[in-house]
């Protein structure tokens, strides 16, 4: 299901941008009014003033602090099995203990060290791969474009989690392969959006001017296009971070990612399904996933509003 999210965004993006927009041909009066409205709207929505974005930032900040100082702030060793099993939350163990008598609070705190850096890493990987491929495809066109975009289409034809499962099944279940699998299913989103942006930017005056001055294709890509791609790609990445956390923890939940005894949120939720009386085993790590994904989405969603509407539409989702 997070799968749909990933390929939805850009499937639509690619389409929406292509669709003719009758509202855009309006004559001066209406166009002026529209432009003014747009300016006003954008000025109104500085992302840093939105309560959603601030909430998201604060949550992410808290999680980052927890990740950096995990060993300092967590009350116990996340792997130590020295307490009775399935103890309900108490003053001693705020989140209770799990099936092996480990302190769940400590495990949730240490879980930030698994989920957040890996999510960040794989989003950066997917972003770089997707952006480069998309930019090259869009700028040079021809057979490169053809090959890259057909590959993207192929990947997008599979729901992400199934394809990721297939990759993990082929390569063997561990966290590295899970990350690899998520990268494999994530890059086409970036490639699609970036290709579209490059295609439209290529026609623009400043790129044409630079080309006339004799700039090489790579120079145009690096100098003229990069700044224009940075914003949309950053927003896309912010939105994708949440997906990455979901997908990765989903794979771990299924036992295809992090392996025991690692303190990984998805795997911890899975441990909770063994004993429904001990609700705390699953609830707290799951809540940590929900909170972190929500924070990324709050941020990404607000950032997208700050983009100009045409670009925002390309990465809606």
């Amino acid at each position: 299901m997070n799968a749909t999210r990933i390929f939805l965004g850009d499937r639509l993006g690619a389409g929406r941008g292509n669709r003719s927009d009758p509202g855009r041909t309006g004559a001066p009066d209406a166009a002026d009014e529209r432009a003014a409205r747009r300016r006003r709207r954008r000025a109104n929505k500085s992302p840093w003033r939105s309560p959603l974005a601030v909430t998201g930032l604060v949550i992410i900040g808290v999680f980052l602090v927890a990740a950096v100082f995990a060993s300092v702030i967590s009350p116990e060793d996340p792997l130590a099995q020295k307490w009775p099993k399935y103890q309900a939350p108490s003053a001693e163990h705020w989140f209770g203990t799990d099936q092996l008598g480990r302190d769940i609070l400590s495990r949730v705190i240490h879980g930030t060290r698994v989920s957040l850096p890996l999510a960040l890493l794989l989003v950066v990987l997917a972003m770089v791969i997707g952006t480069v491929l998309g930019a090259v495809a869009g700028y040079f066109g021809g057979w490169i474009d053809m090959v890259v975009m057909r590959c993207a289409d192929l990947v997008l034809a599979f729901p992400a989690i199934i394809l990721a499962m297939a990759v993990v099944a082929a390569l063997g279940p561990n966290l590295t392969n899970a990350v690899l699998a998520v990268v494999v299913v994530s890059w086409p989103t970036y490639a699609r959006v970036v290709r579209g942006l490059v295609l439209s930017l290529r026609q623009s005056d400043f790129v044409q001017a630079d080309r006339l001055l004799g700039a090489s294709g790579w120079r145009v890509l690096a100098v003229d296009l990069r700044p224009n791609l940075a914003g949309p790609v950053a927003v896309l990445a912010a939105l994708d971070l949440g997906n990455a956390v979901l997908l990765l923890s989903g794979l771990s939940f299924l036992g295809l990612g992090a392996q025991p005894p690692a303190a990984e949120w998805g795997a911890m939720v899975n441990a909770g399904s063994a004993n429904f009386d001990a609700w705390w085993v699953a609830v707290f790590p799951g809540a940590a996933i929900l909170l972190s994904v929500l924070a990324f989405n709050f941020l990404g969603d607000t950032l997208r509003d700050a983009l100009d509407p045409r670009t925002a539409r390309a990465i809606r989702g």
Partner: protein
């Protein structure tokens, strides 16, 4: 974004103008389409069909490639370690899949096998993958259908409300709710929902399609709710229906979020059109303006999302099916992945990808129904 094809307004991703070689993609259609070739919409559909066929071919290549990219022996990967000790089985497998031939000819063998409905044998069940899929598909289909209906009704409804009340408190609340919907880990939501509604409150039965030991209705469509209605087994229907409520709701949650956000954006975009202002200037009630003038153009993009969502749901049920023991494709795929049962998981992949292609084609056809510019131009 692309500046081309703006006038048709229908190019959506899987094919870009001129990039897919379409001629010959639909063999045997020459005579049938001779008359229709003049009709742009028919041609448009044929082009999409051709792209779909090509995509399916690509998917088989990908599946084939993945199977062969497995580190180690494909015989071991496909037959399992135990069978390796049986030279006869190994030889038979090699002969059937032409493993001693060159890669292209191996692919050809694979493809012809596939076209004959032979997707290999599952290592867990020792049955043909095709038969396994046949058993699992109806369960997932039933669940996905229920969930998509739920998600469409709630998601589109919320999206419209959000668009109409844009910037005011209902919009803000819906925004947070829909963001929460796309942020919640389904496997956790399924567990929590089961704990609260089934385990603690006991309001609703969950786990499996029917209670253990119950006899499923006669196999007509494979969908228990439909079959039990057709055969008039009311008790079974109640049972099947109530057991579907929890997984369907959980599965819908994420998609409600997605659909809400898309609907809101699409309706807002439509509301900004001159023709909506013109409709208001005609003095029509606001409800008519929204329903007839704004929702209709928004419907095309809502439909696209719904189609993709459905395709994703069929396999995206993996997590939900596992938590709530729903014996469908997702659970099957999961077990296959865990056992490194490649033929089975590739079978699921192929099926899902074909569904994706078919759904896209249906969505394209529906575009024509909704938008006269595509149908008639």
């Amino acid at each position: 974004m692309s500046t081309s094809s703006a006038d048709t307004g229908v190019d959506r991703g899987t094919s870009r103008p001129g990039s897919a070689p379409v001629k010959g993609a639909a063999p045997g259609r020459g005579t049938a389409s001779a008359k229709r070739r003049s009709h742009p919409f028919a041609r448009f559909v044929l082009v999409r069909l051709g792209v779909g066929v090509l995509l399916c071919l690509g998917i088989t290549i990908l599946a084939f490639g993945l199977t062969h990219a497995v580190p180690g022996d494909p015989v071991a990967a496909n037959l399992g370690q135990r069978a390796l000790n049986d030279p006869a089985a190994v030889a038979a497998f090699k002969a059937k899949n032409g493993l001693d031939d060159s890669l292209p000819s191996q692919y050809w063998t694979y493809l012809t096998n596939l076209l004959h409905g032979d997707m290999g044998t599952s290592q867990q069940t020792h049955r043909p993958v095709w038969d396994d899929l046949g058993d699992k598909i109806p369960a997932s289909l039933e669940l996905a259908l229920a969930a998509i209906v739920l998600a469409l009704v709630i998601g589109v409804g919320l999206g419209i409300v959000a668009a109409v009340t844009r910037g005011r408190w209902p919009d803000r609340i819906i925004r947070v709710v829909s963001l929460a919907g796309v942020s919640v880990p389904v496997f956790w939501l399924a567990q929590v929902a089961f704990y609260v509604f089934s385990f603690k409150l006991g309001w609703i039965q969950a786990g499996g399609r029917l209670s253990p030991g119950a006899i499923p209705p006669d196999d007509i469509t494979g969908l228990y709710t439909v079959d039990s209605l057709l055969t008039g087994e009311w008790g079974t229907f109640g049972e099947a229906f109530s057991r579907m409520v929890l997984p369907a709701c959980v599965l819908a949650a994420f998609n409600i979020g997605v659909l809400t956000r898309f609907t809101r954006a699409a309706v807002l975009e439509a509301l900004g059109n001159d023709y909506v202002r013109a409709a208001r200037a005609k003095g029509l009630p606001e409800s008519t303006v929204i329903r007839r003038h704004a929702l209709r153009p928004a419907l095309t993009s809502i439909l696209t999302v719904a189609g993709l969502t459905f395709g994703g749901m069929l396999a995206g049920t993996v997590l939900v099916e596992n938590v709530l023991s729903w014996p469908g494709l997702g659970q099957y795929a999961y077990k296959s992945a865990l056992n490194l049962d490649l033929p089975s998981i590739m079978g699921v992949c192929l099926f899902v990808a074909v569904v994706y292609v078919v759904i896209n084609l249906l969505v394209d056809l529906l575009y024509g129904v909704i938008d006269p510019r595509i149908r008639l131009s």
